[in-house]
């Protein structure tokens, strides 16, 4: 269970980047930095939409009530 930013977070960052970039008072260095950052976020967000194998895991509870995860087909 990674802590990488979710699609939602990436989308929110992208929105913020675009909004700042669209303001006329941002200086050119900042604009370039924003653009670069935005391209990175876009790439990551697109990767999250890429074809992937859906992960299905089964929650298993042992006798002591501890939880564990197993691949669903096992």
């Amino acid at each position: 269970m990674s802590d990488a930013p979710s699609f939602r977070e990436r989308l929110e960052r992208l929105e913020a980047i675009v909004r700042e970039l669209e303001r006329s008072d941002v200086d050119l260095d900042r604009a370039l930095a924003l653009f670069e950052q935005g391209v990175g976020e876009l790439r990551e967000a697109r990767a999250l939409l890429a074809d992937a194998e859906l992960r299905v895991r089964k929650v298993i509870e042992d006798a002591d009530g501890n939880l564990d995860l197993a691949n669903a087909d096992e």
Partner: protein, 385 residues
């Protein structure tokens, strides 16, 4: 009222005959006096509920049937709603409906006749209890997360519901992670297992939960009508989606869940966005990003141009200033030219060696020297002392 005997003769009586009303009234009196209020067991058939609120149906068994009415005041209180084939105990007062000359029962109360037939009674009681505790309040309903990262599924690991949900998620939003919390969804242990699974969900890092099963008979779906199960759904701390059976099956769990999906597939569609739509959205953001930077660069270029213009203007002014200064200096230089001084009447004295003679000491007695004046030199000599 004249007495009637069967031996009054063959001719039809022209007088002393009973009216239809009289005979039906008499029958009603006899029937009502002859029966106390009693319990009748039978199966319900031909149920009709009228606008007036009165219920009409028949009670029957293998050999016979009797028409029944339940007046609105009693029908409203009834915990059992009649349904075709439902076996009931009817607490009834036999009577005769004079207008039709029909024997019938005025039913005051209905109870289910078999434990498995009392589902509606139990359901209604459970619903009332949930209602009292505010669990059916629409204001309790939470919105679903827009982009869930993990979903818990409380359902059978072997059921059609799991297959359907997984298929839809794989197509629409495969980056979601599915945590299956297995529970039997029918049979003796089902309610307990589903409640336990829902409690486990609260210990999992999930954003949303789907609880349910595929279609089945009323008995098969019964687990989701049990009050404890509905309460366990209400106690889940993330938004809940119920998906029990088909479109037409509505259970208590459905009433308590934040979102009721008509089928398991629909539940899967409800919890995740559509990849294709989100791709379009990213394309739009990418366009804004490019246009945004492009606009900014354009703006920068304009500013650079303006700066260059200013530079040129500045340089021109400086040149201008320089030129004026040079001119001024030139004038000054000119003013300092020795020729000009000579023009003003001064003269320069130099020895034969060309050295300037500046002081009286440079002029000993009888010293010969040259005086340069405006238009040339003149020879000169210091007078003898």
């Amino acid at each position: 009222m004249a007495g009637l005997t069967l031996f009054d003769g063959v001719a039809a009586p022209t007088d002393g005959a009973w009216s239809v009303l009289q005979v039906t009234q008499r029958a009603r009196q006899l029937v009502e006096a002859g029966f106390p209020r009693l319990w009748v067991r039978g199966e319900i058939g031909g149920f009709k509920s009228y606008q007036s609120g009165h219920w009409y149906f028949a009670l029957r068994d293998r050999q016979a049937q009797v028409r029944c009415v339940m007046w609105r005041s009693d029908a409203e209180q009834s915990a059992v709603r009649p349904e075709e084939g439902l076996e009931v105990f009817a607490h009834a007062e036999p009577t005769v409906w004079e207008e039709r000359g029909e024997f019938r029962l005025t039913v005051r109360q209905l109870l289910p006749a078999r434990p498995e037939g009392d589902w509606q009674l139990k359901l209604e009681r459970a619903r009332q209890a949930l209602l009292r505790d505010g669990l059916l309040d629409p204001a309790r309903k939470r919105p679903l997360p827009r982009f869930p990262r993990r979903v818990a599924l409380v359902t059978s690991p072997d059921g059609a519901a799991l297959r359907d949900i997984v298929a839809v998620l794989a197509r629409r939003w495969p980056s979601i992670e599915v945590l299956l919390v297995p529970a039997r969804v029918q049979g003796e242990t089902a309610a307990r297992e589903v409640c336990h699974a829902l409690a486990l969900v609260n210990r999992l890092p999930v954003d949303v939960v789907i609880v349910g099963r595929g279609g089945g008979s009323r008995e098969d779906l019964w687990t989701f009508n049990i009050e404890a199960v509905a309460r366990a759904v209400a106690a889940v701390r993330v938004p809940t989606v119920s998906a029990v059976g088909h479109e037409t099956d509505v259970t208590l769990t459905d009433l308590v869940a934040d979102v009721r999906a008509p089928t398991p597939s629909a539940a899967a569609e409800a919890i995740v966005p559509d990849r294709a739509e989100q791709r379009d959205r990213l394309r739009a953001v990418a366009r804004r990003l490019t246009i945004g930077l492009g606009g900014r660069v354009e703006l920068g270029a304009q500013r650079v141009e303006r700066t260059a213009d200013r530079l040129t203007a500045g340089a021109t002014a400086a040149l201008e200033r320089g030129r004026a200064r040079v001119e001024r200096l030139g004038t000054a230089l000119d003013a300092l030219s020795p020729l000009k001084v000579l023009a003003r009447g001064y003269a320069v004295a130099r020895g034969d060696d060309g050295r300037l003679l500046r002081r009286t000491a440079d002029f000993p007695s009888e010293r010969a020297f040259r005086l340069t004046v405006q238009d040339g030199d003149v020879r000169a000599r210091v007078e003898a002392k």
